[in-house]
């Protein structure tokens, strides 16, 4: 049963990642990204990381994806040409990609992984405890970073609006 579920998730995740990588139309890539994000969230959930799965759905599928679709629709002329996602130098990249893929798969397949079943239940409360005790400093730093990103994005977009007004 677990293998069947994993096979389904594998097909959804990798299939939509293939569409993201190879689609000729940028808007198809953006919408195929939903499948990848939800597939990764499902992977987290069957790995018993339920809080991370929820965070993945909220942050990626709810936030980053909406931003990306907004950027696609604001910047590229999707109604005018079908081929709005041009591809360059793929002849050089495909050997690199396939070489990396084969190297990694041979490394993964050659080793015997020592696995022990997870003994840490109730991940939300344990993650909360860890964030407020052992990882308190990175937690605070990441909140300052989020604030800086918010202010920075506002400043970057505002400057160009002012230049447009002056013209």
């Amino acid at each position: 049963m677990e293998k069947l579920v994993f096979a389904l998730i594998f097909v959804v995740t990798v299939g939509s990642a293939v569409i993201v990588a190879f689609s000729r139309n940028l808007i198809y890539s953006a919408f195929a990204l939903i499948g990848t994000f939800l597939g990764v969230a499902a992977t987290f959930i069957i790995l018993q990381a339920d809080f991370l799965g929820l965070a993945q759905v909220m942050v990626y599928a709810g936030g980053i994806l909406v931003l990306t679709v907004f950027a696609v629709m604001l910047t590229s002329r999707i109604d005018q040409d079908q081929n709005n996602n041009p591809v360059t130098n793929y002849k050089a990249v495909v050997p690199i990609m396939l070489g990396f893929l084969l190297l990694m798969i041979s490394v993964i397949g050659s080793d015997k992984w020592v696995m022990s079943e997870s003994t840490v239940p109730a991940t939300i409360s344990s993650i909360g405890n860890l964030l407020l005790t052992r990882y308190l400093l990175p937690f605070e730093l990441i909140s300052v970073l989020l604030l800086m990103a918010m202010i920075g994005a506002a400043i970057i977009t505002r400057r160009y609006v002012r230049q447009n007004d002056r013209e």
Binding site: V14, Y60, Y90, V93, I105, M115, P138
Partner: protein, 100 residues
């Protein structure tokens, strides 16, 4: 099956991210490739944390990666919109001037 399936899935998604970043000329498509690579790294972190079985450090790290990806995405898309306003294009071959 164990951890191998998850590692193979993460590797495939990561290679597709490399392909997307290296071949696309559209700046938003670059960002999609970067998101693919970050997601692949997260799969690895969570899989190792699950099969390690002693602590949750991998999940915490993955949480930080998600927050960093959100920051990166916001800033990069703001820059892309700014570039589009001044160049009327986000094709990275056209945006090659450093000044004026």
């Amino acid at each position: 099956m164990g951890i191998t399936g998850y590692l193979v899935m993460a590797t495939i998604v990561f290679s597709l991210g490399i392909y997307t970043v290296c071949t696309r000329r559209n700046a938003v498509a670059y960002l999609m490739g970067i998101e693919l690579m970050l997601n692949a790294a997260n799969i690895n972190f969570v899989a190792f944390a699950h099969y390690n079985g002693k602590n949750l450090d991998g999940q915490i790290f993955s949480l930080f990666v998600i927050a960093l990806a959100a920051c990166e995405s916001v800033i990069a898309l703001a820059i892309v919109l700014g570039i589009y306003r001044s160049y009327r294009s986000i094709d990275t071959d056209n945006v090659a001037t450093l000044k004026n």
